[in-house]
């Protein structure tokens, strides 16, 4: 019974982690950007979904759509106003650009977080779930919303997989992550690929944010933790490797759930952090990282 409970709860939370980390790792893989405003963008998506669905009374579907749209807008803004100007700036030395992007997105994330706190207070909000009620799975009472969270997360990841492996545009994304110079020589315009990857990122982060808001609830204070958790999953899985991140999301999700059930909920995140330290020592490229 307990094992089954851990299996079900762990699966839902892991799927959500996987979705959250996929976009994060995709951006890094394709354009080499570590977007530290990731958590704040997820928070914006959740809070906008809550606001539109609740305060405007637009219902959960329109709310979710508005949340994803807000995330998409934030992603574009992050790319056009924060990341690209730094990358194109002639006054920043080439080898320092990465650190500037890191700092830029970090500060932008804090600005987003503070803006949400200012406009909507930092009290946690919960997005109205798309479905309500519970079902019994072999004696474990499971909220339908928890199942939906896992299903939608995997649907989004599946679509991404199809896009990357089955379409020409998707394959160019993959190529950009392997050899950007080769791609330009073949006549592809890198900047358009970057815009595309940020758009995909925006949608993924938006869905993850809205689902998180409906499943656990979100406050502007969570922005930092969300970025940190995506970051640790991606490092654990191997920077830039999508399948590594998926695997790592499940390791993290189950390790956390098991800790919460079997030891104590108050030290939930501790074993994951210890594992991360161990991985960085023993296998710095992560589970499936290329190096």
């Amino acid at each position: 019974m307990l094992a089954l409970q851990i299996l079900i709860d762990g699966f839902a939370i892991s799927s959500l982690y996987a979705l959250g980390a996929t976009g994060f790792t995709l951006i890094f893989g394709v354009s080499g950007v570590l977007n530290l405003s990731h958590g704040a963008i997820m928070v914006v998506a959740a809070v906008i979904a809550w606001w539109v669905a609740g305060t405007f009374g637009a219902g959960p579907y329109l709310g979710a759509l508005a949340g994803v749209a807000a995330s998409l807008a934030c992603a574009f803004f992050t790319y056009r106003v924060i990341v690209r100007p730094i990358q194109n700036s002639p006054s920043i030395p080439r080898e320092e650009k990465e650190i500037f992007v890191l700092t830029g997105t970090l500060l932008w994330g804090i600005m987003l977080q503070e803006a949400v706190a200012y406009l909507f207070t930092n009290n946690p909000k919960t997005v109205r779930p798309l479905v309500e009620g519970v079902v019994m799975i072999l004696g474990v009472r499971t909220p339908l919303n928890e199942i939906l969270t896992a299903v939608l997360s995997w649907a989004a990841i599946g679509l991404l997989y199809l896009l990357v492996n089955r379409t020409r545009t998707g394959k160019s994304l993959l190529a950009a992550s392997m050899n950007p110079r080769g791609l330009t020589l073949l006549g592809f315009e890198l900047s358009r690929i970057y815009v595309l990857v940020w758009a995909i990122y925006g949608v993924l982060a938006g869905i993850a944010g809205v689902l998180l808001g409906a499943f656990l609830g979100v406050s502007s204070d969570n922005a930092g933790t969300l970025t940190a958790s995506a970051f640790s999953i991606v490092v654990l899985g191997g920077l830039g490797s999508v399948s590594g991140s998926l695997m790592a999301a499940y390791v993290v999700g189950y390790l956390e759930t098991m800790t919460a059930y079997l030891i104590s909920p108050s030290i939930r995140t501790v074993p994951v952090l210890l594992l991360l330290v161990a991985v960085v020592y023993v296998r710095p490229q992560g589970l499936l990282g290329r190096r």
């Binding site: 200012y118 207070t121 909000k125 109205r128 309500e132 919303n145 656990l216 909920p265 108050s266």
Partner: protein
Amino acid sequence: MRISHSIALLSGVFGFALAAPAAHAADPIKIGVIAETSAISGVGIPNGAKMAAEEINKAGGINGRMIEIVDYDDHNSASDAVRAFQRAAQQDKVAAVIASYISEVVLALEPWAGRLKMPMITPGAASNEITKRVHDDYDHMKYVFHGYLASTQIADVVCEASKTLMVNDLHMKTAVVMSEDAAWTIPLDEEYLKCLPAGGLKVVDHIRLSPDTTDFTPIFNKVEGEKPDVIVTGISHVGVQPTVQWQQQQVPMPMYGVSSQATNSTFWKDTNGAADGVIFNMVSAPDVAVTPKTIPFAKTYQAKYGNLPGYAAYTSYDDVYMWAEAIRKAGSTDPDKIVEAMEKTDHVGTIGRIAFLPKGDTFAHGMRIGEGYITGLMVQWQKGNPVTVWPANVATGKMIFPAFTKLPQ
């Protein structure tokens, strides 16, 4: 004719000239307010204080001097709060301070109140340690007053009400105590573990959760496995998330006890109505005439700020009145004189009749609790409205629980 005109003119000019320095002598009396303004419980503190100041000023101020509220946002950080406190005392020269609803922040400010000899009151923090320090080191700490119930006193109110609500009315026998790991819940839990069994509820487990918890599923599953009749809560940093997950997961036992976020009128919206059935402790509620001042205050507050006051807004409003009265009685802004006058407070505010316990008491400078003073209420969220269910003489409704709750037969 002409002469009288010029005399009138002259006297007008002189009158103005004479009046001008007099206006300077009536500089406003400043009261500092330190709180986290991006949290709903927090923003109630400056809001409540400003309302009280406006009312006092409209009625002529303190001996002709107006009150000015100087507010500082501490972002729920002890170090920001300490900086704000120092600024308030040294630069802005306030006469007294109203500070925070977070025990950790108030405990960090307390030594500074002593060092800078700055009278201070907290409208919402609950740790027993606040008054214990006043008791242990009165000469240094006498500047601190506790304008809210101490944790032990809150636990006592919850236990007292549980005898009627849980044991008598619902025939409950067992409970799980679920509290967040924070300074204020240490004495709270200690008292819960003593007074709940004394009132007829056996405590089958005691769970302390991290205030950073976002996924409460494992905790609720564990609680459910222990089959208690009720979950007795001690939560403030968390609130929306456990409530929503309790409802989504359809945990079959009621949540009852202290849930500070539930005292905010936006709690229903923040939880999308998951709060239905949650019972929480308050000192005053918008639907109960605890004193003749309570309902008018809640109504005016709602008209002014768009939502009902959270718990610390009531107390902060009362605190301004008490400081004003103390300053009036002291006849100056000398901190020792203000403290002396404040100790003699007997003020009927929005939360009841407020008097402070003497320096020899364990809760020195804490509020007097009990019949005729502050009694506390238990309030339940019902269909979007907070309904007072205890004590019986002021209750505005009976307890109703959501369909998934299984009550003992």
